[in-house]
Amino acid sequence: MEKLFTHLLENYEACVAVVLFVIGLCMLLFDRNLLKKVIGLDIMDTGTFLLLADRGYIAGRSVPIVTDGVTDMANYINPIPAGLVLTGIVVSVSVSALMLSLTVRIYKKYHTLDMDALYLMMSDRRKGGRV
């Protein structure tokens, strides 16, 4: 148990990333406001990226940009996570742009951002009306 806690404290940055991921996930799943769902999605993604990037960090080493012709791995951190996160950030902004445009369209149509009310309207009509 104690060992687990020390290890958890060692990996504090990953812990923060996990907490951010869970906060974002909760917002995405359980917040009723559509706009805040989108923000939750962004927070979730950044949490993931933080987790990925801190896996590449090595204490005491520097940016993986070759300086003065020194190409020894012992001087630089791992470049792979940075590249993957770069990909991820761009994916995340495209997805949130799409979600935001859906939000705008839904608001123009139904004048609400409350997902529960929207589902209610849908189920309401399904129950009674001939659809």
Partner: protein
């Protein structure tokens, strides 16, 4: 290296170029380009399949100048081009069959974008079939998600918008979980390509280090893909998504997009993680349980639904349950059954959606059962097609749906404790299938109501031709399934060959 081996890569790049060209071209050229692209893709995949099957080889194709652990790779054996071929065929036939509705449902200024999205969906399907790298898989999953959301929301009504938001929320949770799983795997193994992952994971598992993290990572990847393909506790987005879109989109989404996620999951399980580790981690049994639950719950929801397309959509949830049950059983016979079920479902579902939309057209655009009464008489071709699809879904011999069910049952006898639950689930689910599909077929062939508010419209025989082709392929496989089974068996040997 033979020139044919370049074809998977060529088809992917061709799709990308066509997608961009379609975006700039107008509606008509976009449509021609897309249909041409789909046909070319069919030809290319057939060539690759023929090459691999006749030489009995599988190969990895370097994407760049750097070999395996450093560069990206795609891989092709028999399974990969076979699935890519299936995806292209179903995509082409759904698009052709739903053409009238695409032109009618979607505003004219969006047509070229719709075609562009079809191209991008094809790109992601092909890349997901061929990829040999887990992060490439993630990138193309995202393309697939965005493109399918756009296919869904292209029909401009409020309900499709709400359905797309719901779909996106679930899909994004799914890809988030998948990415976290990838990150855990990467941080334990330091690799991203399937073969290297396989080696490292097997070594780590034997050693016993990081076992817990490995289990959670596999679980997260599985859960992410399961959410995206709509396994039981997460199937709530299905009815609105599949039931409200334009029929071509419903066919594409239910027929092939969900199958592409399942194919990626199978690749992760068999090629990256390894089936031994997967079985030992205990996630296999969880998949089995959820698959069985999905079969039952999906069918019950389908019985309770009041719209035709909603019913068909819920039945998709049940069919996805079958496939996951096959993965959960874990034997090679069960995997074969799962693949056969992927075939059967991918060929039958678009046919059901296409003919359902034609039946609804014949009933004044209504989808509820009372209005559909006697619709089979008003549009005989669509009625016959729907009935055939329903029979296939139930698992009547001669139709394609019978083959996987038989295979599931025979695979179940090899198991130990899972035998009886699987057989029982198969029996109950088939019974429920009979209830709702035969009920629907009966409603279609009841005599017409006098006050039926339908508008008689000119029946275009050609409009049902793509659905008929789907039916014909299904019948051919259903009557003579030995070649496909043999091909799949041959493919498995190459698929797991590391």
């Amino acid at each position: 290296m033979s020139f044919v081996q370049n074809f998977p890569f060529f088809s992917i790049i061709l799709c990308l170029l066509c997608a961009v060209a379609t975006f700039v071209a107008g509606d008509r050229w976009g449509r021609r380009l897309t249909i041409g692209l789909l046909s070319v893709s069919i030809v290319l995949q057939s060539c690759v399949l023929w090459f691999c099957a006749s030489n009995n080889t599988s190969y990895a194709y370097m994407m760049g100048h750097y070999p395996a652990p450093w560069g990206n790779e795609i891989a092709a054996g028999i399974i990969e081009p076979l699935m890519a071929l299936l995806f292209s065929v179903v995509l082409l036939l759904s698009v052709l069959g739903g053409m009238d509705h695409i032109l009618k449902d979607i505003p004219a200024d969006r047509h070229h974008l719709y075609w562009s999205m079809v191209d991008l969906t094809l790109v992601s399907l092909l890349a997901l079939s061929y990829t040999n790298d887990i992060f490439t898989g993630y990138v193309f999953i995202e393309i697939c998600t965005i493109a399918s959301c756009a296919l869904l929301s292209a029909k401009d009504t409020g309900r499709t918008l709400i359905a797309s938001v719901r779909y996106m929320v679930f899909a994004l949770v799914g890809s988030g979980l998948f990415l976290i799983g990838v990150i855990f795997t990467y941080s334990i193994t330091g690799h991203l390509l399937f073969p290297q992952l396989h080696e490292t994971i097997a070594a780590l598992w034997a050693e016993g280090t990081y076992r817990f993290s490995m289990t959670v990572a596999i679980g997260l990847m599985t859960a992410g893909l399961a959410i995206k393909s709509g396994l039981f506790p997460f199937h709530f987005w299905m009815p609105d998504t599949y039931g409200r879109a334009t029929p071509a989109s419903s066919g594409i989404l239910s027929g092939v997009v969900s199958k592409a996620y399942i194919l990626l999951l199978i690749k992760v399980i068999y090629r990256a993680v390894g089936i031994e580790v997967f079985a030992a981690s205990g996630i296999q049994s969880v998949l089995l349980i959820f698959g069985i639950a999905g079969m039952i719950v999906g069918s019950v929801s389908a019985i309770r639904s009041k719209r035709l397309t909603t019913m068909v959509a819920y039945s998709s949830a049940a069919q996805i349950g079958y496939i996951y049950m096959g993965l959960g059983m874990g034997t090679q016979a069960a995997l074969l059954a799962a693949f056969l079920h992927i075939f059967s479902h991918a060929l039958t579902k678009p046919m059901l959606f296409l003919s359902a939309s034609q039946l609804a057209d014949a009933s004044g655009g209504h989808m509820d059962f009372p209005s559909l009464q006697g619709a089979g008489h008003r549009n005989v071709t669509a009625g016959v097609l729907f009935t055939a699809g329903a029979l296939s879904m139930v698992g009547v011999p001669l139709f394609i749906g019978f083959i996987p069910k038989l295979q599931f049952a025979s695979a179940a006898f090899e198991l130990t404790w899972q035998k009886w639950p699987v057989l029982l689930a198969l029996a109950i689910s088939t019974l429920l299938n009979v209830l709702y599909f035969l009920y629907t077929a009966m409603v279609l062939w009841l005599p017409q109501k006098d006050n039926a508010a339908f508008c008689p419209q000119e029946r275009r025989w050609i409009a049902s031709a793509p659905a008929m082709v789907l039916l014909a392929i299904g019948l051919v496989i259903g009557i003579h399934s030995a070649p496909l089974t043999a091909l799949l068996q041959q493919g498995f040997a190459l698929f797991c060959q590391y």
